[in-house]
Amino acid sequence: MASSMFDTLVRIDCTAKKAASFAVGPGLKSYLGGMGYGTRILVDEVDSRIDPLSEKNKIVLTVGPLTGTTAPMFPQACIVTKSPLTGTILNCYAGGFLGAEIKFCGIDGLVLEGRAPEWSLVLVEDGRVSFHDAKPVMGKGTAETENFMKEKFGSEARTLSIGRAGEKAVAMASIFSETRTFGRGGAGAVLGSKRIKGMAFKGTHAVDVADRAGFAALVARNMDILKAACADGHNLVGMFSRVGTGAGMGLVNKKGGMATRNHEYGVFPEGSEIDGWAYAKKYYTRAISCFGCPVHCGMLHKFRRRDNTESWLRGPEYETMFSLGSEVMNPDPVTLAEANQLCEDYGMDTLTVGVTIAWALEMGEKGILKESGLKLAFGDSDAILGLIRKIGEREGIGDLLADGPRKAAEKTGRGSLGVAMQVKNSGFAAWMPRRMKGVALAFATSNRGACHKRAPIGDEIMGKLDMDSYEGKAPIVKGIQDTVNAIFTFVACRFHEFVTPKDMYPAFLEAATGQKLTLAELVAVGERIWNLERLFNIGAGFGRKDDTLPDRCFEPIKGEASQGAVITHEAFNRMLDEYYAARGWTKEGVPTPATLKRLGIED
């Protein structure tokens, strides 16, 4: 029977500059693809105690059953590796066109291992892998590196790259793909540690499905749902369709949940200067889609830089409007756009970069940190842009900051750790745990640290759930974590599930590959992945002590609209107990043998 999966992965040994394909066996196949394949392979092949930047670490780059098909909103590729930022297992995603092109290469993904003898570019042409000299692009930014590869390997090639930050092992270095980003957790530093500057993919394979008529009907149904959502200006996806992910900043401000000034305040009064509507009004704007997506939330803007030169930026995304906007008290859309461009050029995660800078600015104002040539103060454009450069270069204070907010605070001392807004050294996403108690639990328990992708954000901010209540949040967060892990095996865009009924996922899977799973069984795959990740992290030394939040979260939010929202240690610990119980883990957060047996995890 035809299938949308090729059941083939490629193992690339960077040390020997050799590659060989291997078949996906039934054990791995039960993890469906994407994040499932990545997690299972990493847990099986990588000792959780290794140094993430040693040659023993691996990068598993995968796609899923719906990648490269006509199903809408499945453009992303998934990377699983051990994070140099958190020391935990990491999964991260980039949209655009990379995922589909990997599938068109006739493979479901690849495993990158070892360390190349010299800096290299890797070309994957259908199943064939070749290594090329990276010298001409060493020290270059991500866009220049990818343009070089497109000139060298063909304009139709789809590419990924690291910038200088990845070359210099900056712990918040990302992997970029045509402005889309494997953003979180420092995957760029891992690719750099393998001495791979970039990769290009060119595929000619056809993607078929098991049941063509059934699949087409599902696609038509899903497209109708998405088109209706996009036509509705009050629907979140509809708002994204109009001005991008920055559409909702006004709403979050109104609810007192707009993380501002290193998470001290819950309202950023200048938000309307830098949100999605502001960019669309001020600048020429063109909507850009990922592969096959009708939502087109990517907004390409033409603007004038501070030096009055004309420039383009796709973005900023909402999370960046927070991290390099409200969190650092920057109300200037041009500074924000340039800060975004700098992160893109160096190849860094705007979130952890911005949160780390916010911490440094607060330390500057308190007289604890200083840096020659820069005035470390909130809202200072030169300081914000200057610190991004220094982090990307690991220069001066940037060398301290480049290891992440927790590590920087541990070295700095003087009470600075309590206001480093991070979990497991990963900078907070744009949400306030004090304001939204489900987010508090999701940040604290995330396997990759302070993650917003598996939090009840929509339900809490839109008022479907009482955001101030701890009641019942533990099973809700568990459910979201398991469900999102499940759809990340496909690999779905996070926004797909905002409007798509969940019963469509097993239906899509069966029509694409012939695999029959109930929705409950599909979510159970997500739970199995969650527990595999947890076991890896426990092996790496993590436990209950790390499932917590910085001290600032246990002090009331300042300013209006937040009603002094706060988290108490008692209530937080009770919620964590309830969460561990719902997961079938011990009080210390370790999966019990009975739980592992229930989930079919043998080892």
């Binding site: 000619t204 056809a206 001005v243 020429y284 063109r286 096959g292 087109h296 033409k302």
Partner: protein, 156 residues
């Protein structure tokens, strides 16, 4: 009945649903090289849309270029008989719109799906739409769609 596409390049989000739907309708599978329409990336400038222009093509030079008369026009639709095609590529060179490609040894081009193009149905922003006949008072106007590029006050 006109056989024309109209384009609004600013509305094209480069999603390529036109290409995947074309490929699936012609071959049953997604294979980008099988698409009769192509979106060319000129990032960050607007993309090109490569497909046959039918009524807007002056004299259909592909027809005359074919040494074996494998290309013909009927009711505005210019089509290639791929059984008769010898793969000489003369039409590929003759097409002023670069809308003919070689595929599996023979020339391939859009056939307007016989009058109801799949790409038009697939395009959610109406960046590509069916045009009105030549001579129609609004024949050259872009078709309004659900979304479009937003031109801000500070725009270029």
């Amino acid at each position: 009945m006109g056989t024309r596409f109209v384009f609004d390049f600013e509305k094209c989000t480069e999603c390529r649903r036109c290409m995947t739907s074309c490929s699936v309708s012609k071959t049953g599978v997604v294979r980008m090289a099988d698409s009769r329409i192509d979106i060319l990336r000129h990032w960050p400038e607007l993309p090109d849309i490569r497909v046959c222009r039918f009524d807007d093509c002056d004299g259909h030079p592909c027809i005359a270029s074919c040494p074996v008369e494998a290309i013909s026009e009927a009711g505005g639709i210019v089509a290639i008989d791929r059984e008769a095609c010898t793969g000489c590529e003369a039409c590929v060179d003759a097409c002023p719109f670069h809308a003919i490609t070689m595929n599996g040894g023979t020339a391939m081009k859009c056939d307007f799906c016989g009058g109801d193009p799949e790409c038009v149905k697939a395009c959610v922003t109406a960046a590509i739409a069916k045009g009105r006949p030549v001579g129609h008072p609004r024949h050259g106007s872009a078709v309004p769609g659900p979304t479009s590029a937003i031109r801000g006050e500070g725009g270029a």
